[in-house]
């Protein structure tokens, strides 16, 4: 079996490349430095090579226990974490709210303490309430917590896989124009992607119905100058609700999932209007850069936020994002295990 056929000239890292990445938890991308993001993406590239082998198994995390604790439905994120853990030889236990003592009313904290007492090393948590993973991380001393999506707040592993996929195709991300289209207001995927791309130096443009845009003038909010004069990494984020102008010259277009209940709550008049003004379709992509790429975090409402021709077209990276998600989660699980050891 050939591991990879690429024989690009070897670049030998200096000692700087050996600086360890040490963090106990992965809760959001706002506390990642640009260097740590780069290091994580580099590790993910090595993990990606493992995924391409016949034997997708390495012993790195043998003897470690990972629990996926999901209070919300999910297929791709949960299975992605499970596969990542298993390829690294960790033992992965899946726990869903509907089939556990959570149904009997056990609190998040007590569930966390119970898992900690069982000697679990990593808890991967998805929760409908923003801040739930932070709460767990604050209250558990011996467990690493990974946020797999909390309310409308953050989805850092999705943000990192988006960055990985973009970097893999675009190379340098600084100065690139990234357009994020749709329900940005309620999207944890968008929030994490914005942090990631902004830190990588990309110019992020948010587009969609005005009612689904974050408030650009909120103190410390999107695109504001930040609090107390501190440099705000989001200063280079702008809003343009007209997708036809927003998409001009874009290098990357990311469409977000539209949840139909938003229409019932009056955020936009009708699906037809949404499709007419904000669907990413052939005509709109023609205004982006000729080699612009299309991403979507899934699950996709094909024909609503993205036209079928674009979803399955040459520029679509939607399936690649899924593969890269496994590699990113492998890299993070490996880094957290190393950090836990370094601390003790």
């Amino acid at each position: 079996m050939v591991a990879t056929t690429s024989n690009e000239p070897e670049v030998f890292p200096g000692n700087a490349a050996q600086v360890p990445v040490l963090r106990r938890h992965v809760l959001d991308l706002d506390d990642f430095t640009a260097e740590e993001i780069t290091a994580t993406l580099d590790n993910a590239a090595a993990m990606r090579a493992v995924l391409e082998r016949d034997v997708k198994k390495v012993p790195a995390l043998r003897g470690r226990v990972i629990v996926t604790l999901f209070y919300e439905a999910s297929t791709r994120t949960r299975i992605s974490f499970e596969e990542a853990g298993k390829i690294l030889s960790a033992d992965v236990i899946n726990m869903t709210a509907s089939a556990s003592s959570i149904e009997k009313g056990e609190s998040l904290l007590n569930t966390g303490l119970t898992l900690q007492a069982m000697g679990v090393d990593v808890i991967v948590v998805r929760h409908p309430h923003s801040g739930a993973p932070h709460f767990l991380a604050r209250n558990l001393n011996n467990v690493a917590v990974i946020n797999a999506g909390d309310g409308a707040h953050a989805h850092p592993t999705q943000g990192l896989l988006d960055l990985y996929t973009a970097r893999d195709h675009l190379g340098e991300l600084a100065g690139r124009k990234v357009v994020i289209v749709g329900d940005v207001l309620h999207s944890r995927v968008a929030r994490s992607a914005v942090w990631g791309f902004a830190k990588a130096g990309s110019h992020v443009v948010l587009s969609g119905p005005p009612t689904l845009m974050p408030d650009p003038v909120a103190p410390g909010g999107w695109g504001s100058a930040g609090n107390n004069g501190v440099e705000n990494p989001l200063a280079n984020v702008t809003v343009d609700t007209n997708l036809d102008t927003a998409i001009e010259g874009a290098d990357l277009v990311m469409a977000l999932r539209l949840q139909s209940e938003r229409q019932q709550r009056g955020f936009f008049p009708s699906l037809r209007e949404y499709i007419r003004r904000w669907q990413v379709n052939d005509a709109r992509m023609a205004h982006a850069n000729p080699d612009a790429l299309l991403m979507h975090p899934g699950p996709m409402n094909e024909g609503i936020e993205v036209s079928s021709s674009q979803a399955h077209g040459d520029r679509s990276l939607i399936e690649e994002q899924v593969t890269n998600g496994v590699a990113i989660r492998m890299a993070l699980l490996y880094q957290l295990a190393g950090a836990a050891v370094a601390e003790n």
Partner: protein, 177 residues
């Protein structure tokens, strides 16, 4: 860290020359041979051996690069946070793989390298080449080809530098600080 230089560039060159002769002699030529350098400094050593073989025999020996961090048994002791891709330009099945590293010490890196190669396929045989053998083995592993045996104390560190990675060719003994 100032060290006591024990081998200079000329001695490294002679050691590499002797090693490539021994590799060819033991394997009766370079047919079916693959060199697998263990990152980081096993890679330039493997590339130098391949270059010498090319000049002497006019045969291109493929060079793979192994990152063995995912196979280490001492994540608990020494977290290595940067992983780099393992590349192997040919199928190792049915070939003789020479695992190449700069220093052979406890044998744990070689053990991890053996596992890494096994996951790529089933070679005919695996041999081990190291520029420096400093002793203090913790596993039943030995080198087939050694550039130089250097008796050391466990308190000491052996630092190999190659022009490709460090801008200079030498080997020094440092005191663990």
């Amino acid at each position: 860290m100032p060290g006591r230089r024990i081998i200079d560039a000329d001695e490294i060159r002679r050691a590499v020359t002797r090693m490539f002769h021994e590799i060819l002699e033991r394997n009766r030529g370079a047919d079916g041979l693959v060199l697998a350098g263990i990152r980081t400094r096993g890679v330039p050593l493997a590339e130098r051996l391949a270059e010498q073989i090319r000049q002497a025999e006019n045969i291109e020996v493929p060079v793979g690069r192994l990152d063995i961090n995912l196979y280490r048994d001492d994540l608990s002791e020494r977290p290595r946070m940067r992983i780099r891709p393992t590349t192997m330009p040919v199928d190792v099945a049915g070939r003789t793989v020479v695992l190449v590293d700069d220093v052979l010490y406890t044998g744990r890196t070689v053990r991890a390298g053996l596992d890494a190669i096994s996951d790529l396929g089933r070679p005919l045989r695996i041999q081990v080449a190291a520029l420096i053998d400093r002793g203090h083995r913790e596993l039943p592993i030995r080198a087939d080809f050694v550039g130089k045996n250097i008796p050391t104390r466990q308190m000491e560190l052996v630092r190999v530098r190659f022009h490709e990675t460090d801008g200079v060719d030498d080997v020094s003994i440092l005191q663990r600080g």
